[in-house]
Homo-oligomer: 470 residues x 2
């Protein structure tokens, strides 16, 4: 239970803490677009300053080969208290198609909540939910504890990166090389979602990923389709033929070997996942598609969380602006990504996909596959005490026990933390299914921002109530 | 044979006539892009002025619902002399991808010829070959005859349009409504090509066309591929699956009924087309593709000229700029065009393609097909005297008899002229296979510009040597 003093502090701080978040969200820190490099740096510098003001110590911007990391700690709880490592990211996704945003993505706007919520405002901005808003929850929890009690119940370390949307390369190199600096008893991450405002979730699995850009080249330059059509394989058509061959009619990926390492779901796990109150009807209400899709042998929750996928995230070729141009393009392009489940090795999946595309490629065109380093999937042990403290904190603040689920998305760094630091990882998310992550009109449900700060405090207090036995 | 006076006039006029063409080519008259509407108008006005200066009479800019027509005539040859109707177009194709142009498309540049030509310069500019350069040949032929002899051997009418690259809608309405104004004994069009600088061609067939834009809609907005992937049919993937189903492995179009009206080629015609010195090796030298494509039962010349096709001229969906974004887009798009052969009705083909796409569409997505009015294919009677005069003119100027072929491209207005005016149409082209029509680095081989003017003069003189017998 939080003290009255803390409650009162948080109530008084709400407007200022929201204003701070809004200021951070104004910085367009898109990590995958090189023109935004100065903005990414500015967002990191802003965070350094805010963490210092919030009472964290040893706050520093750590230069890397890519975008900088931000570190800060508070280590005065005593050696008998656990150390919590908080991870988050300050970079955001690109914003196009810009025309579909109701308010500009980097002009944060508070609007009354819609949809299934009865009350509370939403904060619309790129990064509001993924992940500036969720990262900021823990900075503000630390601020509240230090301002009211002068101390934290645990030792804490923050490591916040700026490349989560770009593959987490720098932090992936940094963590294994700084095991002593980052040593902790558990890791706390808020970069996932709840099922509804009244239904928190503990995510115990994340899908991995592998991404690649595909280029099909036919003629050496764009051609007139009247002069060459019928005797020249159109690269647009060839790309469609290749990509169409990657799934069967049931949404099963046809790449040979793609499922070889995928474990069948146990009956126990299928029963646990069946508790997630999400079905085709809810999916369609959320995504607005005419019908659900995917492997018929698996439920929607299983398809999204526990089965691997292959998506065409983008494709383009030929004449794609206003008007008509009867052209056969020289090249056609696609951006692919695979979502992977435990045991699938991203590099091996990349090799399988590339080999299959090359095998399918007819002699009339050439295919180039530019793969990028991916990240494997993750599953947590549900027996870990840290997971139970998180469940208790959710219960205390939201008044309901969390549901356990596997998430479809990827947090590439989770595996790195587990491999390098060998500590339990708590994925305590405050996003909602309609937060429009990676899409126009991303938003964060503001009651979850405030309750998130309370949940973080409650969780840290629960951790601090334990005395380390080592 | 041209007089010494005419030869001398043309020699002296070369530089000035080229400068005039260059000035016209500087005007970016792209008819399918609405922002270029003022440029299209300016190109029409420029032509009006140049036709007047060249000695044509009654020159006027004819307003239409779309881009204007340009008309001019000279009708003093006598009623016993034939009347020739000259058609051409002053609009041009779009220029993207702009980055692939070696010199800007609207800054015409003369460079020494390359490739299989041993001498002569090329003029690089959008529209240089298609079709400002070829249209201008006849304006300058008239100028030379009027300046040297004060008269033309025939009556002549010019009707030049600004929507050839946009479907020829305005002229299609104008011609049937102005049959008396346009009455003529034959129609002369230079908007086709030769096989090589030393091998003229008389095109006796043109493919028709039908174009459409396809939109596949899945979810109501862009989605996070981690959160929804596996249970949502990705519209990029669905579009690929639909478009890949439109051809079999032999390049045969699979749309039911697509070939129902296509006549089988006669042995006589196949023998005639076999004279065209164009094979897979020449095709690949021109288009730079790794291998030829298309229906194995037909030669390359037959595939391009005498068989219908279906092309994906453009397609796009999802994230298509720098970086990666793991998105499932709400929509994916394609621009299709069919090249049609005689007997195929564009509207019927459009219905067949749309019906097949709707039949293929799974319940997980919706397909919208926005078809546009097309134009049917055309074949000429080789027995027409006009065709024989054209052959003689080519022989006189180029020193070699033309080859007869069917062209893969479309000139939508050809059918309108034949239907409304019922006159033979002479397709006397001066383009070359490597002119890069509709592609970056469009060029016109300048010796063909100058020889084209001589050929036009020789043709008009041959026409004028006939006395009408009606």
């Amino acid at each position: 239970m939080m003290s009255t003093q803390l409650q009162s502090y948080l109530t008084n701080a709400q407007t200022r803490q929201l204003d701070e978040l809004i200021a951070w969200l104004r910085i367009p820190s898109i990590s995958t677009i090189s023109a935004h490099q100065p903005d990414v740096l500015a967002a990191a510098q802003w965070l350094v300053e805010n963490m210092r003001q919030s009472g964290l110590e040893n706050v520093e911007l750590i230069e890397t080969e890519g975008h900088p990391l931000v570190y800060g700690d508070w280590l005065h709880a005593g050696t008998d208290k656990p150390t919590v490592l908080v991870y988050g990211h300050y970079d955001v996704q690109p914003v196009d198609p810009l025309a579909l945003w109701h308010t500009p993505p980097f002009e944060p706007t508070v609007r009354a909540g819609q949809g299934y919520r009865q009350e509370g405002d939403d904060l619309y901005a790129r990064g509001s939910s993924d992940d500036k808003g969720q990262t900021f929850i823990h900075v503000k929890a630390v601020e509240a504890l230090l301002q009211t009690t002068g101390a934290l119940p645990v030792n804490i370390k923050f490591l916040i990166e700026g490349e989560e949307e770009a593959g987490s390369q720098a932090i992936g190199l940094y963590v294994p090389a700084h095991v002593e600096q980052l040593a902790a008893d558990l890791c706390l991450i808020s970069d996932t979602g709840m099922l509804a405002p009244d239904q928190p979730v503990i995510t115990y699995g994340l899908r991995g990923n592998w991404t690649a850009e595909i280029t099909v080249t036919g003629p050496s330059q764009d051609l007139h389709s009247g002069v060459y059509g019928g005797a020249t394989h159109n690269p647009n058509q060839a790309l469609c033929e290749l990509l169409a061959a990657l799934h069967d009619k049931d949404g099963h990926v046809t790449v040979p070997g793609f499922y070889d390492q995928v474990p069948e779901l146990s009956d126990a796990e299928r029963a646990l996942l069946a508790n997630v109150p999400y079905d085709e009807a809810k999916l369609l209400a959320d995504n607005g598609a005419p019908a659900a899709y995917g492997e018929p042998a698996y439920t929607v929750v299983e398809r999204i969380g526990a089965r691997p996928t292959l998506e065409i995230n983008g494709m383009w070729g030929g004449f794609i602006t206003e008007g008509f141009k009867t052209v056969i393009p020289s090249q056609a392009h696609a951006k692919l990504s695979c979502r992977l489940v435990p045991n699938q090795d991203p590099a091996e999946i990349g090799q399988l996909v590339e080999a299959y595309l090359q095998q399918l490629a007819p002699p009339t065109i050439k295919v180039e596959v530019q793969g990028r380093p991916g990240s494997p999937a993750y599953t947590a042990s549900l027996a870990s005490p840290a997971i139970q403290w998180a469940a208790a904190a959710y219960q205390a603040v939201f008044g309901v026990a969390p549901i356990y689920k596997r998430e479809g998305g990827s947090i590439p760094i989770v595996n790195k933390f587990q491999a390098a630091l060998d500590i339990p990882i708590v994925l305590m998310g405050f996003g909602l299914p309609d937060d429009n992550l990676h899409a126009p009109n991303e938003k964060f449900y503001l009651p979850n921002f405030y309750k998130g700060i309370e949940t973080s405090i409650t969780f840290l207090q629960a951790c601090g109530a334990q005395t380390k036995t080592d």
